[in-house]
């Protein structure tokens, strides 16, 4: 267990989060946006798993449980997100999020 370095692992999940956030901020394509969100969520999942493994106590189980819940959550989110993509495509003929600004008014 001690073969893993916490600093390296945290750097990995931090890097994933940064990639995800960058994607969220820059992508205009809805599908790429969704993928970026998935990456950011996975960074959080990784963190849960690491810390569960490190703590080694009874709370380890809860960390893993949350990781599993998060994976399920991510899956449902993608399902909903793709449904929105389809609806948007049908409605506007494009999946560019910059054009979907009906919330403005």
């Amino acid at each position: 267990m001690s073969a893993f370095s916490p600093a390296g692992l945290l750097a990995l999940s931090g890097g994933l989060l940064a990639i995800g956030l960058f994607g969220i901020l820059t992508r205009r394509n809805f599908i790429l946006l969704l993928i970026s969100v998935e990456i950011a969520i996975n960074a959080a999942v990784l963190n849960f798993v690491y810390f569960a493994a490190f703590s080694g106590s009874a709370s380890a189980l809860s960390g893993q449980a949350i990781a599993v819940v998060l994976i399920g959550l991510a899956a449902t989110e993608v399902a909903v997100g793709l449904a929105i993509v389809l609806a948007l495509n049908r409605l506007r003929g494009s999946i560019n999020v910059a054009e979907a600004n009906a919330l403005k008014s």
């Binding site: 956030l21 969220i24 901020l25 820059t26 992508r27 205009r28 946006l33 999020v97 910059a98 979907a100 600004n101 009906a102 919330l103 403005k104 008014s105």
Partner: protein, 661 residues
Amino acid sequence: MTGLSFALDYAWLVPLSTLVAFVIVGLAGNRLKRLEWGGWVAVAGAFVAMVVGLLVAAAEMMGPGTYTDQSFTWLSVPGSPGTFPNGVNLVMGVLVDPLSALMLIVVTVVGFLVMLYSIGYMHHDRGLPRYYAELSLFLTAMNGLVLSDNLLEFFLFWELVGVCSYFLIGFYYEKPSAASAAKEAFLVTRVGDVLFLLGIFLYFATFATSGPGAGWAASGFKFANGTQPFLAGISGGNSTTLTIAGLLMLAGAAGKSAQFPLHVWLPDAMEGPTTVSALIHAATMVAAGVYLLAVTSIFLGFTATDQLAIVAIGGFTCFFAATMAVVNTDIKRVIAYSTISQLGYMVLAVGAGVTMVGMYHLFTHAFFKALLFLAAGSVIHAVGTQDLRKMGGLWKKLPITGLAFLFGALSLSGFPFTSGFLSKDDILGSVLAATSAHPLYWPFFLLALLTVFLTAYYIFRAFFLAFGGPAPRDPALPEAHEGPWVMRLPLIVLSALALGAGWLAFYPPFASLLAGGGVPPSFSATDLALSAVSFGLVLGGIGLAYALFGNGRMVEVPAGSAADRVRSVLLNRYYFKAGYDWIGLRAVYGFSRAADFVERYVIDGTIRGIERAFARGSDQLRKVQTGIVSDYAAYVIGGLVGFLLLLLVVAPWIVAHLGGS
């Protein structure tokens, strides 16, 4: 005779019978229109009221000085420390005492006769159910006022008669002048009413806590409770409050009885039907002010200052109003001014401390003044105008009316051996007697004496203008003829009463109702001398009127002469009405408009300004809302970063540099 005393327990039937008539006519009147039922229902109500009222009065005569009182709790609140510790107990009830019995006779008899007369007089008018309903309601309220057993109830019915008067003055509401006169009457009397209300507060609050009136407060401030008058038992410390309270009662009475300076509404009230003028604005309601003063003087008492003020108002008003009657050409308005003037006599008497003499005049005046109005109504009914300048020569065509008017005029001017002579000379004699103790009464006595001359002049001027001469001055007037029996009968009955009612004072049981100084009139040497003087004035007045108008033509005053200017001032009623109109329309309404401006543009303007600032600010702020998801995500992330910076960098820096010391 105890056989009648049961009637005292049924006094509540008097207002109730007319109330029933009011409800029936008011609710079903329109359905009974074709049958003219409404009027007869109202007459029946008034008739029952009269019968019961006379029985009650008779029973009261037989057992002088008795008080019969039935009441129920109207509003009762427990006390709290520091204010009304004994609580406030307000009651409504029926009180029969000599004074109310006397008024009951006046109100129910005149009420019935006028109601009967209306059947003929109002025959051609629209809206008759409304008329009879309102008149019945008026009789209810007036009888309720007469039978009130405390000041609050008195005020309650006082306002109700006022509102009935309002509706009846405005009976011909399509006429703007009638609607305006009704409003004016209500508002001017309202001024008096508000002061009257304040007076009630003064009495209630002064007596509620301690002193001789403590028991009075617990009983619901009834008239019949405790020693009378209360004022006798009040220490000097309270006399300022009580003086003010007395003056406020005077103000209330002045509003209702059209005394100076609240007299302006009564002449305008002649816009109502003549029957209404006879009943409300001559015989009953306007006399309620005098009745109030009488009740106050008997049960509560006036201080010397109050008395002087009352004498001054009464004495001045009786002269002041008579001067305006001298030039008026509207037959009803002449009589209206004479009503104000005669009420002034009564007020004068009450103020001079001879309350019952004032009530005596009230009693006789009710009949001869109702008679004058009904006779005038008969004239108006016959010729269709109220303008004296157009009338003339009616004596032959309207013999009954003419005779009735003559009897009324004789009684009004105080011709010897009429009712008016007895009561008016009684007032003059009593006031003259009072001047020995109160020299300040002298000028007002002299004004009252002078008024005798004016009274005789103006009423006979009206008489000669209407009835004298060979033919109407305006040939366009329709052929006059007497009204139906329902109109003639009241005239005959009232003629008898106008001449003879005053003599009732020499009938001992009746005189017991007027128990008090000065009634029945005595005929001492001074009195006889005074009567001779006043008879001389009456003859002078009649003679002058005959000399000027006896041949039935108008006397024209040359335009621009001094006499014409005086006439103009008198016709404009000394510009009082114009002044009050200015206060109402210019001062109060102008202020109100200005305040409305402030309301709209300053108060609400400030609010709207604040609101606009917010709206503009948020308009700027909403530009942030692009609607693009990525932008929102950027804000979220930016916020997160900022928060982390705050937590991890700024906060530790602050703690390190500032918190440590």
